[in-house]
């Protein structure tokens, strides 16, 4: 009986842990409503347009998922880096590095190896993104260079590198005339990630949409990353370094290698996200030359999703879907009501701040509960001994 009440209390307490995040979301919603009113738009209409635009129809939901795929990859990667004590803001650059190498392999192999080109391209992309991420990890570990700054700089370098390659050596030979945008040739059909259709026949879900197998790959990788982080020695070491660098050093871990490793894994995930955009969606690597021309800012949105997912690879999956929906829905809102989608960027910023700020309340709660639990255990011990003696 006593055990049962404790159980239900535990459930409630867990929900209470989540409460600050709810408050954060609520505050974000309220802020958006105020902004919308200031923009002379009806908040209720705007929100329902957003929801409808993101989840309202089969196609809308498919587009939300399509949008969330690269965010998911980056968010999983950023989660690994954050757990390893590295703040990776370089998702944009790592996506580009992965996509460049992945596209180069895909185009180079053509149809010569059949469908094997897909895994090979993905491996290349992982290595490409990983190595690009590892640069920042290396600089942090061995030269004490702030990784936030180095990754931001490396993002800029990657964009220029991509512009150069797509406008020069990797330019689609067919479009090399006067009027072209920076893009590679189209990949072979055998290298395309298949469309994802759930079910068969007329009732099949996501028929005639752009949803592709990248989603499944991302979810599988989320599970693998979860296992890696919490069920393997490698993951334990990464997290140990993230939690307490000094203690890890005393424990004999090679802290520097761990930092490089977590950035490699993190960058590799982002690189995969880039390649999946090429193989599953655009069928070529292309940009308009602007910094987010290829990535669509997934490298930045992945940060938001990773935080919102509680820095847990499994949490990153629904969080990315939520943010994908937010972005897709905002476009719909802009189309229907003329409210600039830039509002969503501002709201995203507010959400980041609120979620990060709410951590302190969660931590305080946990500390308090830990004290209470210790007290309870002590009390039980006392009672037990009292019973035994009595």
């Amino acid at each position: 009986m006593q055990a049962q009440t404790r159980l239900s209390w535990g459930w409630l307490q867990r929900l209470a842990d989540f409460f600050p995040v709810f408050i954060a979301v609520l505050l974000a919603v309220i802020t958006s409503a105020i902004l919308l009113i200031a923009l002379e738009a009806d908040p209720f209409t705007a929100f329902s347009e957003m929801l409808g635009g993101a989840f309202g129809t089969e196609n809308a939901f498919a587009e939300t998922l399509v949008k969330s795929v690269p965010i998911m990859f980056v968010a999983i990667g950023i989660t690994i880096a954050f757990r390893g004590g590295v703040v990776n803001i370089g998702g944009e650059g790592q996506m580009i590095a992965g996509a460049l190498l992945g596209a180069a392999v895909t185009l180079g192999l053509g149809e010569s190896v059949g469908w094997l080109v897909i895994p090979l391209a993905l491996i290349a992309a992982f290595i490409g993104g990983g190595l690009y991420g590892a640069i920042a990890g290396f600089l942090k570990a061995y030269f004490d260079v702030n990784e936030i700054l180095s990754t931001i700089m490396l993002n800029q370098v990657a964009v220029q590198l991509m512009n150069y390659l797509l406008n020069g050596p990797m330019l689609d030979p067919e479009s090399a005339g006067m009027n072209h945008i920076p893009k590679t040739a189209r990949i072979a059909e055998i290298a395309e990630l298949p469309r994802l259709v759930i079910g068969f026949g007329d009732n099949a879900l996501f028929d005639r949409t752009r949803l592709h197998w990248g989603l499944i790959i991302a979810i599988v990788l989320a599970v693998i990353s979860y296992i890696l982080l919490w069920r393997t020695v490698i993951g334990f070491r990464i997290r140990a370094v993230g939690q307490n660098e000094r203690a890890s050093r005393y424990a004999g871990f090679r802290v520097k290698q761990q930092i490089v490793l977590s950035m490699f894994l993190s960058g590799g995930m982002a690189g995969l996200g880039g390649a999946v955009q090429v193989l599953g969606l655009q069928y070529r690597l292309q940009t308009d030359g602007s910094p987010a021309g290829f990535t669509g800012s997934a490298g930045f949105n992945g940060i938001v999703a990773a935080l919102f997912g509680g820095l847990n690879p499994l949490g990153a999956v629904p969080a990315s879907v939520l943010f994908g929906g937010l972005l897709v829905g905002a476009q719909k809102m802009q189309r229907e009501l003329g409210v600039p989608a830039a509002m969503i960027t501002a709201i995203n910023g507010i959400i980041v701040i609120f979620v990060v700020s709410s951590q302190i309340f969660i931590q305080r709660r946990m500390q308090r509960r830990a004290k209470l639990e210790i007290a309870a255990v002590e009390k039980n011990k006392f009672e037990d001994t009292a019973q035994e003696t009595g």
């Binding site: 949008k67 006067m178 752009r210 069928y283 830039a342």
Partner: protein, 343 residues
Amino acid sequence: MKARFLTLLVLVAALVIGMVIPAAAQDEIFRVAVVAPSATDDLAFSQSMYDALVAIRDEMGEDAFQFDFQDGTFVVDDAAVALRDWASSGEYDLIIAHGSQFGSVVEELAPDFPEVSFAWGTDVNTFGLDNVFAYTAAAEEGGYINGALAAEMTESGVIGVVGPIEVGDAKAYVDGFVAGAAATNPDVEVNVVYIQSFSDITLATEAANTHVENGSDILTGTAQMVVGPIAVALDDGIPWFGTQTSQAELAAESGMVFQVYDWVPMLNDIMAQIDEGVLGGTSYTITLENEGLVMEISEFAGMEDDAVEELQAKIDELTEGIVSGDIVIFPEEDMEATEESSD
């Protein structure tokens, strides 16, 4: 952690369920939807299309013509969302993807919706599809005229060009400008800087300053970051030549001649075809000849009447030369970009 994960799942599920938008009924109105990379008021590429649609709506009236315009969508993926959303809604007679980066999206999307008409540009490729129109601008023509005029006007013999990235109609305009200047006066030095960004105004401004410091007494440029160079031209009191839309108001007394993209004739033709049941297959190039390109002399520059007349006469002469073929803009180059592709 687990609780948060579950709650998130619940949250997502709750959002998925229930939201269905009623589709609007079909009627006699010609509906157009456009997705464009920059703002409708970018004084450049996106605005040229927006202005054309507004002009058509003003002419036909709101009960005969309506359009939705999603601007600021430079990310290909976001544009794809909008395009697919419109296509699947079945509410639109014509869907325009206004940006050469959107081509691959149209190529994949159009076969899925054979009953919807698509138009995209700037490019000449209709992918061999019956429901895709393509359009492009022969930006080098106005570039040539601007270059020729600038070469006559310069006293220092140095002209500065601020470009974004060496692609698309930006490259066409700049190359045309250089060719026009060289053909008019081979001694004139045209300095071209591509700042590798469509948006970095600070760099564009400083590029313009660098031009001026290196002796340029005339400036030109293309893409939306030219706001910076225009401010430099105004500040230093030197002439500015523009392209894509009229930047006359912004450039005020510095503004000279602007190559304006006028998509109205092309759009009217596309609409007429759609009304007859032809959903695509044509590739358009707006040129000086078909009056899709219009050279406008700034009305805000405060030029004397006879100066304007003289300028107009020169423009007319050059236009005639280009239209008649007497002037070959790129003598040695293959004319691949301006060729009309027919399928």
